[in-house]
Amino acid sequence: MYDHDILVIGAGLAGMRAALAARQNGVDVALVSKVHPVRSHSNAAQGGINAALTERGDPWEDHAFDTIKGSDYLADQDAVEVMCQEAGQEIIAMEHMGVIFNRDEEGRLGTRAFGGQRQARTFFVADFTGQALLHVLYEQILKADVRTYEEWMVLSLIVEGGECCGAVGMDLKTGEVHVIRAKAVIMAAGGLGRVFEPSTNALICTGDGMALAYRVGGPLMDMEMVQYHPTTLKSNGALMSEGARGEGAYLINSEGERFMERYAPHMMELASRDVVSRAEQTEINEGRGVNECVFLDCRHLGEQVINERLSQISELARDFANLDMAREPVPVRPGMHYQMGGIKSDVDGVTPVPGLYAVGEVACVSVHGGNRLGANSLLDTLVFGRRSGQHASDRVKKRAHAPITDSAADGDLETIREMLDRDGTELFGGIRVEMGRTMNRNLAVFRDQEGMETALRELRGLADRFRRVKVADKGKIFNTNLVFTLELGFMLDCAEAIALSAIERKESRGAHYRVDIPERDDEAWLKHILVSRGPEGPEIDHLPVVITQWEPQARTY
């Protein structure tokens, strides 16, 4: 058994920011991550990070309003206020740590335009902002000498006397299972993209954190809100940054028309992501696409802009679509990208499970509501990561460890033993693909009752088959076969929560667009949907949305 004051699960931006804040507050903090920290999926964030800097004539309230309008009024406005007010200081803190943000002519931080916002307030490092931030935070983790359990997979959270007091983890290098005891656990394990097939997300984004919390009674909120990014490559679902449109790229259909004119005459290509994705899908469905795609046209931007500011996606277009972005338009389509929902938490990461915090994509604060603005996710990870690290470290200072022993791992050991010993007949790959396809067919940009119910039915069938999955690898060292099987279990829990929440919401809002109920209904549905695991199965609950100063209005771009 290992002991730490605070255990942070996940070493992406949210987790490392939390660990750093806790460490600076003088407590013993450890990170546990199933991959090395710099392999985390925060890497993949390309375009930038938003902050309204008041001294530059961009009041934070404007950023807050854009965020709230982008969320289709489902975000909790008190939380959005905190995020937008603290954005500037967070950017400056990261710059001081060493992030090499792009500059303007005076050597000050430069900005670019991004979707759903009336101001260019997105700070960036070319088109690999996430990577640039992630590597710098890792440098700080090294400097602060934070203990990191690298390539350890968390199998379960330990709850004793109603409080979360640690986690059970498996060291992938040895296959050994250990208890890590902690006075507070900060969940920062990221998103669940692989529940969908295809997705822009990395293969490690399997909803582990949400499922782990769900299994110990943590409610999952806004799970129906799944973001489809407007510009993903058809071949492998890779992301083409919104930064391209921020720099002025067009979206055109098979007739060469900038079709966004008909859907968002003011913001055009830079309308909110849900709006642009729906527009693209409509064009494709009505026969104005080519091979189920529309085109991202960067030709007029010129080679210098492409080389200096969009180098990574230009490589992606070359490698995965065989195209020279400077000379040819790139076929793109909406692709699953981000989960707005997650473990219900507040502005300090506090969840309804005492001792358990949640931050980053795994959490639902909620600042993104029905649709997240581009470049708000990096901000979310850093602001709430830091706040949770501070809050948790204050909490643990006066507390002792819970009286648990190594026996807390017995349940997980038994699960693993059963998986390895069973005479399985199903291949996990087949189940994963079927799950991903039914999600992508029935819970995508356009939804309806029948499709969502089909998905739920199919998911329950897959959950049955999951119990018969064969784990071919019986070894202990780097048994990735076992890892994927455990991950599939997490994903199936998340998928069910998404389908249940989506069926529950009988209106269209943000990313949740029902062709059978196309209107937003503030009267009945200006509220969050929560799914919890009860003794008889999933239970559904509601919470009011916090409105401070922005009353819901019709949403046009």
Binding site: N43, F101, G107, V125, F128, G429, V471
Partner: protein
């Protein structure tokens, strides 16, 4: 497209652990990446195959491995580009210069220790400014070229120095060091360059170019190492063997229009370093006996004057 992947397997838990090759026949799209093939194997054919992979977009750095003998990322390597043999076979092996843990999974422990050894964090002096540090965008764009390193280890895998001397910091850690030395906000150049001048540091690179060729992100580690050498010499670190070698070679070409191979080792070791000079005697004798001793008084290079003019021009430009 029909392809055969010949994958080097290693099961550390086998009775007598030993690497072996296993062939997998696959039918894939013409546009498939190597990673698609490997994922197909582990999901549909053989669940026991172990490899690291995550983002599929050449940004997480997990899937560096040797393909037909060269380090590459599996995720951005098109199978059609590497299935060149007559039978369409592609040889897939774990990254080199690292211990293999299982199949294609290698031990990155030493890799990260070396990164940590260069103190990879910004070390500014004086109080922090209230707002951002002011810095020219060109400097930031230049650093972005190094910061785009994804720490995949491809350069380390194929580094010819590491193959013979594991003490070498290696291209990835040195490129990381450059990222700080080249950062106008960092004020620790003096001790950074001093450390990098030691054994295992910048002078151990043999300029074989392997790291430049295999880097999937265009980081150009060797060029960064060369810049670190220049900066180390500018900072007055001229006493190391490497620095003296560089100076002696330059001086020789400038004055004779060619390398004076007989004097070069003497000057590199230090003219008055008697112990080192004596150590070279056996080598000199062997060279003499084999008829390979360079002339002690080399012939005048007819182009000597032109070479000198080139030097003058370059110096003027600097």
């Amino acid at each position: 497209m029909d392809v055969t992947l010949s994958v080097r397997r290693f099961d550390p838990e086998a009775e007598r652990p030993a690497p072996y090759f296993q062939e997998y026949q696959l039918e894939l799209d013409d546009s498939a990446m190597l990673l698609d093939g490997l994922i197909k194997i582990r999901e549909e054919i053989d669940g026991t195959l172990a490899l690291r992979c995550s983002c599929r977009s050449a940004i997480c750095g997990s899937c560096a491995m040797r393909v037909n003998g060269r380090a590459r990322l599996a995720c951005n390597t098109k199978i059609a580009d590497v299935a060149t043999a007559d039978n369409g076979a592609v040889v897939v092996e774990p990254a080199g210069n690292m211990e293999v843990l299982k199949d294609l999974v290698t031990d990155f422990g030493p890799f990260w220790e070396k990164v940590r050894a260069v103190e990879p964090w910004l070390q500014p002096e004086g109080p922090e400014p209230e707002q951002e540090y002011l810095a020219p965008n060109e400097d930031m764009l230049h650093l972005a070229g190094v910061m785009s390193c994804i720490m995949c280890g491809a350069c380390v895998s194929d580094c010819t120095v590491l193959a013979v001397d594991p003490n070498f910091l290696g291209p990835a850690a040195l490129a990381k060091a450059y990222r700080f030395v080249g950062d106008p906000r960092d004020d620790a150049d003096a001790h950074r360059l001093g450390d990098l001048n030691e054994y295992g540091g910048v002078w151990d690179c043999t300029r074989c170019m392997q790291c430049v060729e295999v880097c999937p992100k265009g980081v150009d580690p060797m060029e960064r190492i060369m810049s670190l050498r220049d900066k180390a010499m500018e900072a007055g670190h001229t006493k190391s063997y490497g620095a003296r070698h560089a100076e002696a070679l330059t001086a020789s070409v400038e004055h004779h229009g060619r390398v004076d191979e007989a004097k070069l080792p003497i000057l590199s070791k230090g003219r008055f370093n008697v112990v080192e000079q004596l150590r070279m005697v056996p080598l000199g004798v062997r060279a003499l006996l084999a008829g390979k001793m360079p002339p002690l008084f080399p012939k005048k290079n007819p182009g000597q004057e032109s070479v000198r003019r080139i030097f003058e021009k370059v110096e003027k430009r600097q």
